[in-house]
Subunit: 310 residues, 2 copies
């Protein structure tokens, strides 16, 4: 196997960066030549975790085909969330915990997906299956990924396997799960220095639903009013991006990491589909979504159902 | 988890039937309610293997949604190779060794694919990962699947993992790999009682390539002239099916299981694409393909490349 690049999705989060670093390490231990890279700079939360465990920030790439012929994807599979020239390289392997859509290959590949809270939990299983010891810095970044994706094990996406993995990794990494976890989440929840565009896009993903393109961002905060006070700026930016990319719907989930609730800011021609999906009317483009913290499990499926039935 | 149906592809072969039976057994051991079913009757080779290891012939289903809301796929993922109403059920899990295409879900799922010679080899790994003992009859049908898919370990799709798995399974099943394997392959290679339609369709799969639909059948024989003497009947049947289903290309691989070579019978509007893919001219609709025994690894990729570039 020639050198492969290992990377996660655009607008990288802690699971995407952490899983790429860990899988790169595992591949190297198994005598494959690989490099963990990223499709963007780490966000504040990920930067905190990388710094804490003294790991290098992965190199950012714009394209892959100019460097390698084969790639390995973590934490995503949908082409529109991947590197811009994904069609020009061969996907050798995927490790992921999302739905499968907009993904195809012409050859057989290694594909490992499980409906768990975090890709990092699958990575820990792969280390064990291949009998490779997890070093403490890798354990630390995998733990950070689980904390991030499950909001400290409180998201409905969190499974007993994620909880067991987080506890085991915290021990290897030598940190207190709760204390380290909350500090890391808080490091990512400060939006005071961010522009409206950054708040929208730092953790946004694009989904094809029915015949529409739906953009869904998510921002973690310790007080949702920090974002709500800037709603007009955010709506203006949403409208600009919607015009530019012809989105059928734009949603920003503002998630309170202490209370495990979200407020959604919603705009775009498909706003009625949002109201139908959640059986709740929007009020001035916003709606409280009690108990909703997971885009993947609590927002994408109901929206996809409504858009697919149109 | 409510009851799930576990099944492989249409025109079932020994890997599809054997992997469904084994995964059903594993799921039951792990306290899930499941039933192995099939999308057609077993072929002669599979019937030999089931009979040898005294396993029940799986019930044949036409549709799934009238019985269950969730299904588990083995040995395939492409919708056009699956149950007719696959869009109406939720795919809970997939265990496969093929390319991924024409497959999407709205929710995260368990997906386990590896580029190995046989789904059964992955099944053996799953038994080990879940620490479930493989009983001798299940070992026998998994061994049969590996022998079938790799033509007794001689196909280029066969990996060292398949070889190790076959040896281990033969020991558990208490049979001689070579002797049992050859007897099983020969049981499936007698075409004297088959119609042209059966020869074409008993192990045929449909592929979307570029904008065309390509039909590729494969028949194992101990002497290719058994089939070649019936070429005109076969071509007539090919043309009828091509008209009915608007195939862009129809290929029958006639594979000599002793010599590990194939002769292809080719017809349909895209026959030039076949010639380009293999850099060989057809002569009276046939061409020798030396060393070619694997549809998946040696026929689908070059054809797909040519059709995708049109």
């Amino acid at each position: 196997m020639s050198k492969v690049l290992v990377f996660g999705h655009q607008n990288p989060d802690t699971d995407t960066i952490g899983s790429a670093i860990a899988l790169d390490y595992l591949l190297n231990e198994l005598s494959h030549e690989s490099e963990a890279v990223a499709l963007g700079k780490p966000n504040d939360e990920t930067a905190y975790a990388l710094d804490y465990f003294r790991l290098d920030v992965p190199r950012v790439i714009e394209t892959a085909a100019d460097e390698v012929s084969e790639v390995v994807l973590v934490d995503h599979n949908e082409a529109q969330q991947s590197v811009s020239d994904i069609e020009e390289v061969k996907v050798k392997a995927v490790v992921d915990h999302h739905r499968i859509a907009n993904f195809k290959t012409s050859d057989p590949l290694y594909y490992r997906a499980e409906p768990l809270g975090c890709t990092a939990t699958i990575l820990l299983k792969l280390f064990k299956e291949h009998e490779v010891t997890v070093p403490s810095d890798i354990a630390g970044i995998l733990l950070s990924a689980i904390v991030s994706d499950t909001l400290l094990l409180k998201s409905p996406t969190c499974t007993p396997e994620d909880v067991r993995a987080a506890e085991e990794l915290a021990e290897i990494a030598g940190v207190s799960l709760d204390e380290y976890g909350l500090n890391m989440l808080k490091a990512g929840a400060d939006i005071s220095e961010k522009t409206a565009k950054e708040i929208l896009n730092d953790d946004a993903k694009t989904f094809d639903m029915g015949s529409e393109t739906v953009r869904i961002g998510q921002v973690n905060v310790v007080d949702t009013s920090d974002v709500m006070l800037r709603k007009e700026d955010i709506l203006e930016e949403m409208r600009e991006e919607t015009r530019e990319h012809d989105y059928g719907l734009y949603v920003l989930l503002v998630t309170d990491i202490l209370e495990s609730n979200s407020v959604a800011i919603v705009d775009g021609p498909g706003y009625r589909q949002f109201e139908i999906a959640f059986s709740k009317p929007l009020q001035l483009n916003t709606v409280d979504l009690e108990g909703v913290v997971s885009r993947k499990k609590q927002v994408v499926p109901p929206l996809n159902d409504v858009f697919s039935k149109r």
